[in-house]
Amino acid sequence: MSRFLRIFSLYSQHVFQYRARNFIWFLISFINPLVLLLFWQGILSKNSVLNGWTIESIRTYYLFLIAGQALLIHHVELTVGFLDIKQGELVRELLKPTSYMRTRFIAETPWRLLQGFYAFVSMIPIVYFLDVSVHISTNTAVILLAILTALNAFIISFLFKMVLGFTAFWLTNIDSLLEANDVLMFSLSGILLPLNLLPSWMQTLAQFTPYPYMLYYPISAFIGIYNTTELIQIIFAQFGIMAVLLLIYKLMWHQGLKKFSGVGQ
């Protein structure tokens, strides 16, 4: 355990080395929910309800989205695809006495924590200046299940991004794939709109992808959109997605290593 803490502390130092850069990355993910929060604030009047969303719940949704994006969405695919596989840094990682997945997970966590800290700090002026009253579920069971949903989302996001990064074993250029992923993420994970405000065909499509399980469901769970039975179903679905992603991960890792070659002298 102390070994992992030491690795965590080493990677944390790396994260704190470039605080300004990290803050700009946070700002990039912060702009979109903030603008949409203002957009809906302008559209919905005090008493109007749109597909179950009131002005208060939708404002809380976009507020939580700021924190959700910062805390839950990993960007490990860039390190895995470009640095480790394309530039050959994987050779160094393979020689380490810990598994590659564990190292990457420990290395990525400080980034999420710092971004999450930025998110929580930036939420204070939004709540204060835009007069957003945070609309959160008061049911303890729902909150506990929502925390579990968020933890699962954290793992799903990590596994999914690792799998995306592994495509660099076979593809010469993964830029287009990552851009396509960004577009799907924006559309289907709830960043653009809560899932039930999308057209029905997009809602159905989203159910067959891991995207809504990374952001939309955890955020909606905290707001209290779902009851405990529905949340348990969502959690089981998340376990299913994790199992599938883990299987794909293992397959890609073993096949990818056979393709990988690192040289040096």
Partner: protein, 229 residues
Amino acid sequence: MKRYLKLYLAILKISLDRFMAYRLDAFINAVFSSGIWTFFNVFSMYLVTLRVDSVFGWKTGELILISCIYNIVIGVFSLLFGRGFSEFSELIDKGKFDLFLLRPIDSQFYVSLHTAYINSLIRTILGTILAIIVINAYHIPIAPLGILFFILGCILAILLLYSLLFFINTFVIWAPRIDNVNELFYTVTGQISKGNIPTITRNSLCLRLTVCHYHVRSDKTPLGKSDNL
């Protein structure tokens, strides 16, 4: 002036040759990455306005048209300045900026325009096609004089965007590791100018950045909504 024009034409030719060196790969990547973002920008505006008829007097078709026009403007802007500035932090960080300062031409001109991002043309072309489709589909009236003002507005928007991007990039001289400022610039201008600005300004937030103000003005002109241009 003539010398600089000649030089820029040479830069354009070199950039085009570089693009064509791996033409299939470049074309697929250009079409895919630029195309997917263009469609997403327009489609996202459609989705956001799906459940409402209008936003502060702006009808769905008009908002989607603004998204299309955003793609046209940002496509031309990226073609001219996108790649040049995206390499700026690396030039400073790796100590290559000296090469730009020592050349017998204006350093600002060369650092801004030393390479053209040909891929962005796809965005402008797709944006134009989508704009025509939207104008026809939503029967948006276009005044001929409005088109002239629109083109002028677009040119001013590009110049203002350039001023802002150049200003932001000067910070990189002191902090070369903040190589993501350009991404922040595109996110901010994109979000604010492509259509959500009517809502934001109505919410009385001080987000009327000059560049975005002009950006929207240039978008509004063909719709005949910019009386005070």
